[in-house]
């Protein structure tokens, strides 16, 4: 039962004002990225490699090299644009090298794609490359839906560290599915492109001392998801004061929804990504369903609450949450109250199992709304709370390599974000 002074949010109007202050508004249910220019079944991306700076959660400005696409003008971005294509598209990527001349050539490789043809540029060690000012064109048919990585094929250990990485998503013919099977359907999707950063390398390159870079001894002290270090991961996508870091990582969902997690290992280290709140079900690796026999769907995927994401590897997983197994009604319903969408039926009407202590006997976290019930707020002492205007449930999602949850040794930071379970009446754009 609800205690006194709680108000349950009904309708979105009350909430929207609060939303604009601190929650992402542009993220949407689908991953943002670049869809290029489509003519028939030929999808062309005009891309550049440029240099620029990113900002990290401790206030550092780090010199980076990054890919960008035509929409970005002269700016770079980190990570590179998430390229989005449909299965069967002939993908054409024209890459022009706008990096400073002293960098030398740059290129792109597409692990997982077969039959990549390359034109223009000059021969490099693993692909053709664009020298300063040159353009090289990569062409392939994106036969199979899935989540893929791209990165530079030139001077790979330095150029990957400097930021020349990005994701490629190929969508199947059926919308709302990750692969060609209904068991891979999802309501929302989130990208987790994981990297680490050794600022010393970037300072040396920025200062023109790139030949002193210790490529074999990187010491990362910053860890990033989609190019941002926490708490910036939780800022909205496209926020003006992070112009070179356009992507966010702030998963929000309603109970009962299916959230597709697309993990991309874009750095050089393995990261054990941990989802508080529930297990996730793996459905694919390296762009292929974990399927025993064709047609069965991802029957080989395991439940995991920590997913190892290795460099060069992509993993897809589906996360769901209903409050199952908590053992109490998350809305504080009486048994006769109507069910909410996505509610776990067997716990409907079950009483909250403890008597809450009085406020004077409690200490509060910033995400505590004053009430244990989803979507409900209650009295808080002055100055407490405030980080949870929609009264959702917050679960920390993070690299379980604990030292990676810092910015230069300061916690919280690094490879960390929050999943928010929102009341069904809270609009998630």
């Amino acid at each position: 039962m609800r205690t006194r002074n709680e108000s349950v949010i009904r309708g979105g109007l009350v909430v929207l004002a609060a939303l604009t202050l601190s929650l992402p508004t542009g993220a949407g249910a689908m991953i943002q990225g670049s869809e290029g220019t489509l003519a028939g079944s030929v999808r062309t991306f005009q891309m550049s490699a440029r240099d620029g700076y990113i900002t990290t959660g401790d206030g550092s400005a780090i010199y980076m090299w990054g890919y960008t696409d035509a929409d970005n003008g002269d700016g770079m971005q980190y990570p590179g644009p998430t390229l989005i294509a449909n299965a069967g598209d002939l993908v054409v990527i024209e890459l022009t090298n706008h990096l400073p001349a002293e960098v030398g050539p740059v290129s792109m490789v597409f692990p997982g794609q077969e039959g990549v043809t390359v034109g223009g540029g000059s021969p490099g060690l693993v692909t053709r490359e664009a020298d300063t000012g040159q353009t090289v064109t990569y062409t392939f048919v994106a036969w199979e839906p899935g989540t893929y990585l791209y990165n530079s094929g030139t001077d790979i250990d330095l150029q990957v560290e400097m930021g020349l990485v990005g994701a490629l998503i190929v969508r199947p013919s059926t919308a709302g599915q990750a692969y060609d099977h209904p068991d891979t359907a999802y309501d929302r999707e989130v990208l987790f492109l994981l990297t680490e950063l050794d600022p010393q390398i970037h300072y040396l390159v920025e200062s023109g001392w790139g030949n002193l870079v210790h490529r074999l001894d990187p010491l990362p002290v910053l860890w990033l998801i989609n190019g941002r270090a926490a708490p910036d991961t939780m800022l909205p996508a496209g926020i003006p004061w992070l112009p070179t870091q356009p992507y966010d990582c702030m998963p929000r969902m309603h109970p009962g929804e299916r959230l597709l997690l697309r993990f991309v290992g874009a750095g050089r280290d393995l990261h054990p990504y941990h989802t508080h709140g529930n297990h996730m079900r793996q459905i694919a690796r390296d762009g292929r369903m974990l399927e025993s026999v064709a047609g069965l769907g991802p029957d080989l995927g395991e439940l995991a609450f920590t997913q190892t994401v290795a460099p060069g590897e992509t993993v897809d997983a589906i996360f769901t949450w209903t409050g199952e197994k908590l053992g109490w009604d998350i809305y504080g319903h009486a048994p006769g109250d109507p069910m909410e969408p996505g509610e776990y039926g067997p716990d409907h009407g079950k009483a909250f199992p403890v008597t809450m202590a009085e406020e004077q006997d409690l200490t509060f976290g910033q995400f505590w709304s004053g009430s244990p019930f989803l979507g409900a707020a209650a009295d808080l002492p002055p100055g407490e709370g405030g980080f949870n205007p929609t009264s959702g449930y917050y679960y920390m999602w993070h690299s379980h390599n604990e030292k990676e949850m810092v910015n230069f040794d300061v916690f919280p930071g690094g490879m960390m974000t929050m999943l928010v379970i929102e009341h069904p009446d809270v609009p998630i754009p």
């Binding site: 048919v141 094929g153 050089r268 069965l296 460099p311």
Partner: protein, 415 residues
Amino acid sequence: MNCGHKGWMVAAAVAGLALLAGPAFAADVFLRAAVTTKTMPDGEVVTFWGFAQDSAFGAMDGDVTVPGPELHVGQGDGRLDIHLDNDLPVPVSIQVPGLRPLVVPIAGAPNLVPGRPTRMANGRIRSFTYETPPGNGAPVKYSFAMARGTYIYHSATHPAVQVQMGLYGGAVRERVDGVRAYPGTPTYAAAVSVFLSEVDPALHEAVATGDYGPGQAMTSTVEYEPRYFLVNGQAFADHPGFDPELAVAGGGERTIVRFFNASPSTRVPTLLGTRMTVIADDGNVVPWPRDQVSLVIPALKTFDVLVQPVTPGRYALYDRRLGLSNGSAPGMGGMLRYLAVAGPPTFPGQTTGQAPRRPAPPATLRATTGSGHRPLATDKLRWGLKGTQSKGDATATTTTATTTKARTTKGGGGK
């Protein structure tokens, strides 16, 4: 099955197993541990400890290599017997993770018992098994029940130092026809080995100059700093004298690529232009083929994968953990190679205008029979996926009985 005789059947089955475990033939290999050197691409000369395969003990006619010689054991050989000659200044030994070590009887002397390490004078141990002393006059035998698969042999003495110094190599047992690695797996037209290792030259220098150990310049391997990253004993070097290609079959035919990792770190070889299908892990067939781009290979693991490229050219294979430099030398190096399909040395389809081809589907495997490996039961029925329900577990195959009830009669094992 006559349940009344159950106890007798079990006892006889055990006796039968013990008999079957005594193999008819053994592969005899004469290995010699000795010092050697390699020149790294940046010119640094590094001292290694490697293995040579001699024609007989004391023949000294093999080349000392790092990694050591890849031992191929034939289909008919149930046992691998390594006769070790130690030309190093310290004791060494041999172990092969994944193979069952066997007691070696010695006429007129105590048996050599694997897992019973030789003790040092102060009572401490530095080996996982019995040692071969430096300069031994007679070979010391290490005997293993050879199973089908891909394995790494390495020194079991002071392994933190000796494995890094280079005392490792591959051992493979396959079917006699050489075209199929495991029962039920697809045939292949070519075979390639990718043996990964790393070098911390500071350790090699300290060991070579006798400056490793308590009170010496280097007292432990804790501050490990690899500077060179090797594939099959060589780092990639972009100069004419170095052949970076590993020849594989083309035209859609399969090649088995055997990966070994003797470095202390996890490495992630990644393929460009084609994909790989994992068929075995540490010599065990995986229940379902795994279609992957990158292979996460931790220290001392082996994997068998199949590749099936079509067009001629080079398919780059590089370490995505970025062991891609040679010390302080400029340019790419380290763990980079090309799986090469004979034809013009260009990247597949390098000229534009070639119509992309739909790639062949990945190699498929039947569920294996008789190997004792079954897919693990999954809880997919309880998962409650949206859309069509999974159709249930694939039919588990029944392994044929491998035990015998008695020495002369063969009864049906339990079903």
